[in-house]
């Protein structure tokens, strides 16, 4: 992020405007969560429902360890460690029940 967190008054952008789009990604909301979503890659059909329902864009397609027999898709959806807030919407909406919310443990 080019924008300074604590500018001097001469460094302050005009009208306090922020010129860089998307700098929110510098703030890792992942440390908010108490629970995290674990996906069973065998149950995930990569439909993308969890992805379109995640308020924090914290679902990402990850290459499967071992694609099921005859599978059309090489990826399944896992969570974004840095941003997932652990709300559990993905687990609640997953049509195949592939996601369970587990307590976040010290990693």
């Amino acid at each position: 992020m080019k924008t300074k967190l604590l500018p001097t008054w001469t460094e302050m952008p005009l009208g306090c405007a922020v010129s860089e789009p998307g700098t929110a990604v510098e703030y890792k909301t992942g440390d908010w969560r108490s629970n995290y979503p674990r996906t069973d890659e065998n149950k995930c059909i990569a439909c993308g429902v969890c992805w379109i329902y995640c308020p924090d864009n914290s679902r990402r397609a990850v290459r499967r360890q071992k694609a099921p027999e005859g599978a059309m898709y090489t990826h399944y959806f896992d969570f974004n460690f840095n941003f997932c807030k652990g709300c559990g919407v993905c687990a609640a909406e997953c049509p195949t029940g592939a996601i369970v919310m587990l307590e976040e443990v010290k990693r």
Binding site: L6, M12, L14, G15, C16, A17, V18, S19, P21
Partner: protein
């Protein structure tokens, strides 16, 4: 243009109409305004000019003054040269947006036709509307006659849009006594005005090709620095304003200064005025000088940034200063000009007595005779060391 203007020779025209004509000459892009007496003629004439095809601009008749300033903010934020006009209750209604416009550094130009604030409702001229907006961070200029309105309106766009300033700017005129009066004024060729102003080049704008965020949450860690930058920008704008007035004088022939002296040579006492009644006061000065009273006048034209140095220089070496305000800060320190002048002079090792009078409220006329009496009373207070904090004049007892 509409055909009313012939550049060069003085034309008799209602000052409001003249301002609208000049705003059109300045190639404004967007106008958002709401009608309120006594500003209405300005926006009506702008609407006519747009409807006739004499002005290529968006004219937006919004549903309140608060929305007028809000729309102006949106217009200016995409890089449009933006104008609005208001008075009194309308100015008061857009109060919160004034801070926001200047905080966002948007060079909106506004004409404020000074009118009293309710209650009781009063549509006539005084300065209580604009004096309630001193802290909003805008450049604020006062005028005394129609010619000054034309000239300062042109300069206002150039001042506001200058990259060293980038601040919204208000041009004040007296309600009715200036806005609705027909005066002889000299207009300039449109091309010359447009050359003087140039095309507005915003320092930043809302543009999908380069996305920016205007108006984020200014957390405590940055709010102070933003306000400091704003403060310095407004203070430093005085030098830019004076530079622009000098350039205006060279190109258009009329000079303006932040503070203007009138017959101050050898004066023991000075009258300070702000706004259109200053011209009436000048006649009183002439009469008193003819009677041997050593009194002169200082006209305050630049109100924000407050021209401390120029005021101190202008008021140096006299026994006393009489300040006439057309606004009352109820049970406070008196009139705004008097209060601010006192504050500016307070820490000087040598300072004159300042006597503040308040009059002309709610459109009450202040005559030459009233000014003479006021000055004489002020001189008496000064000589006796008996100046009150402030005094309202012209009150029926």
């Amino acid at each position: 243009m509409s055909g009313r203007i012939t550049p060069g020779k003085p034309i008799g025209m209602e000052v409001s109409i003249a301002q609208a004509e000049v705003v059109a000459q300045c190639d404004v892009d967007c106008i958002a305004a709401y009608p309120i007496t006594p500003q209405t003629h300005i926006v009506e004439h702008l609407a006519e000019l747009v409807a006739d095809g004499d002005l290529d601009a968006a004219f937006m008749p919004v549903e309140s003054e608060h929305s007028a300033m809000s729309a102006c903010i949106g217009m200016s934020a995409v890089g449009a040269r933006t104008f609005t006009a208001t008075s009194s209750q309308g100015l008061a209604l857009m109060h919160e947006m004034l801070y926001i416009a200047s905080g966002m550094r948007l060079p909106i130009v506004m004409s404020c036709v000074n009118r009293a604030l309710s209650a009781p409702i009063n549509i006539w001229g005084d300065q209580s509307d604009i004096m309630a907006e001193r802290d909003t961070g805008w450049v604020q200029i006062f005028t005394e006659n129609g010619q000054e309105v034309i000239d300062q309106t042109i300069c206002a766009f150039k001042i506001a849009e200058d990259h060293r300033v980038t601040l919204p700017t208000i041009v004040n005129m007296d309600g009715f006594q200036m806005s609705h009066v027909i005066e002889p004024m000299v207009f300039y060729p449109t091309g010359k005005i447009r050359d003087f102003l140039g095309v507005y080049q915003p320092l930043q704008r809302l543009d999908p090709r380069d996305p920016k965020m205007f108006g984020p949450v200014g957390i405590p860690e940055v709010y102070t620095e933003t306000k400091k930058a704003h403060d310095v920008a407004l203070i430093d704008s005085q030098a830019v304003i004076e530079e622009i007035w000098e350039k205006f004088a060279r190109e258009f022939g009329r000079s303006y200064a932040a503070v203007e002296p009138y017959r101050t040579e050898g004066a023991d006492y000075l009258l300070v005025t702000i706004g259109g009644l200053g011209e009436t006061a000048s006649v009183a000065i002439d009469e008193l000088r003819a009677a041997g009273v050593k009194v002169g006048q200082i006209r305050l034209r630049l109100w924000r940034p407050f021209p401390h140095e120029k005021i101190r220089q202008a008021l140096a070496g006299v026994k006393g200063v009489i300040v006439f305000d057309r606004c009352l800060s109820v049970a406070g320190t008196g009139g705004p000009a008097a209060t601010e002048i006192k504050a500016s002079l307070y820490n000087l090792p040598q300072r004159p007595t300042v006597v503040g009078f308040i009059g002309g409220l709610g459109g009450r006329d202040v005559t030459v005779g009233d000014f003479r009496a006021m000055i004489q009373k002020g001189i008496d207070y000064i000589d006796r060391g008996a100046a009150p904090i402030y005094e309202m004049v012209g009150v029926r007892e």
